[in-house]
């Protein structure tokens, strides 16, 4: 767990130790940047939010309880900043797609060639990345936390501040949407 690994650094940062801050920054820089980039897409905006996140971390680190999971706390700080940014820029842009009761892959032939293995791996990864980018921010976020950050559902619930059941249903819907988008893009791409 993160508290045991970063605990000493966090206490030192609470006292204002620049070396400890450097260590914390190095430990989380890539993961945090990737997470923010999944929210906003544009690197310039992600840069800005990355700076804001670390400033906010320093503002509030005195209130961080070392017994808690620091990863969840840090990502929750970043999340609030990303959401504030998106709300200011595009009100309503966080909404999840509506459920119409239909399976998302409806319209795609169920016996369509499932020959995913025929497509080159790099092309597939590119399509998955495109499909991920086409998802609403809340879906991109939960997919990133689950698969890229490899967080457990309980940790995700802490970051998102929602019950475990809601995390499960959101992740499930995000995967359904991602799969539908991926299959659609495969068809548009002409890949079998």
């Amino acid at each position: 767990m993160a508290p045991s690994r970063a605990g000493g650094d966090i206490l030192a940062v609470q006292r204002g130790d620049p070396d400890a801050f450097d260590s914390l920054l190095s430990r989380y820089q890539n993961r945090l940047y990737r997470y923010l980039l999944r929210w906003v897409h544009e690197p310039a905006t992600a840069d800005d939010l990355f700076q804001q996140t670390w400033m906010r971390v320093l503002e509030h680190i005195h209130s961080y309880d070392p017994g808690r999971d620091f990863d969840a706390w840090l990502f929750a700080v970043a999340r609030n900043i990303a959401i504030d940014h998106l709300r200011r820029r595009r009100p309503g842009s966080l909404d999840e797609p509506r459920e119409d009761g239909q399976p998302l892959s409806a319209g795609l032939s169920s016996d369509a060639p499932g020959a995913l293995e025929l497509v080159l791996r790099s092309e597939q990864a590119e399509l998955v990345q495109k499909a991920l980018a086409s998802q609403p921010p809340l879906f991109r976020e939960i997919l990133s936390l689950r698969f890229e950050e490899e967080m457990k559902l309980e940790e995700i619930a802490q970051v998102l501040g929602i019950p475990l059941g809601s995390v499960k249903s959101r992740l499930s819907r995000a995967l359904e949407h991602l799969r539908a988008a991926f299959l659609r893009m495969q068809l548009e791409d002409g890949t079998p």
């Binding site: 940062v13 609470q14 006292r15 204002g16 130790d17 620049p18 801050f21 450097d22 920054l25 820089q29 890539n30 993961r31 940047y33 990737r34 980039l37 690197p43 840069d47 990355f50 700076q51 670390w54 400033m55 320093l58 503002e59 399976p103 169920s110 016996d111 499932g114 995913l116 597939q124 990864a125 998955v128 990345q129 991920l132 997919l143 689950r146 698969f147 890229e148 490899e150 559902l153 499960k168 992740l171 499930s172 819907r173 995967l175 359904e176 991602l178 799969r179 991926f182 299959l183």
Partner: protein
């Protein structure tokens, strides 16, 4: 809802192991006999694997340098606050120790002033006066220390 429909709903989370063990068993049993669900399950597994393997974008060196520059004043502020606490805590402790340890002498001095100089008031009043002066001196030292810290923060910012 048919068994097939139920399993279809479970498939997205089955691949990540985020459903109950008995549900996973149920899914596995169904997959053994349902080609369509097996294909969908493989697609979810593929998506999961690919998502895990996506390249990790990295912040630029310039960005990291900017962050370090931005946070430096705040870190200095925290250090200064921490230093204040380190300075003030012994001062407060010392003031209490001095006050309690010197109580008999201060009372004696008060009595001597009262009787020797024929001043009005009890020895307690004089002890109180001397303590006030002592307290004022200690508070001045503490204030000086805090002032020096504050000006150090000002210089950093």
């Amino acid at each position: 809802m048919s068994e097939h429909d139920h399993i279809v709903r479970l498939l997205p989370l089955a691949g990540t192991g985020d459903i109950a063990p008995d549900e996973i068993r149920r899914v596995q049993e169904h997959l053994a006999s349902c080609t369509e669900c097996r294909r969908v399950s493989e697609e979810y597994a593929f998506l999961g694997t690919t998502l895990r393997g996506l390249p990790t974008p990295q912040p630029s060196a310039e960005l990291l340098a900017q962050v370090r520059v931005m946070v430096a004043p705040r870190l200095a502020q925290k250090q200064a606050r921490n230093g204040d606490a380190l300075v003030l805590a012994p001062l407060v402790a010392a003031s209490w120790i001095v006050a309690l340890a010197t109580l008999p002498w201060v009372r004696a001095a008060g009595a001597w002033i009262l009787t020797g100089w024929h001043l009005p008031g009890g020895s307690f009043a004089h002890a109180l006066a001397i303590y006030s002066v002592l307290g004022f001196l200690l508070a001045s030292v503490a204030a000086l220390a805090v002032g020096r810290r504050a000006s150090a923060i000002g210089r950093v910012q």
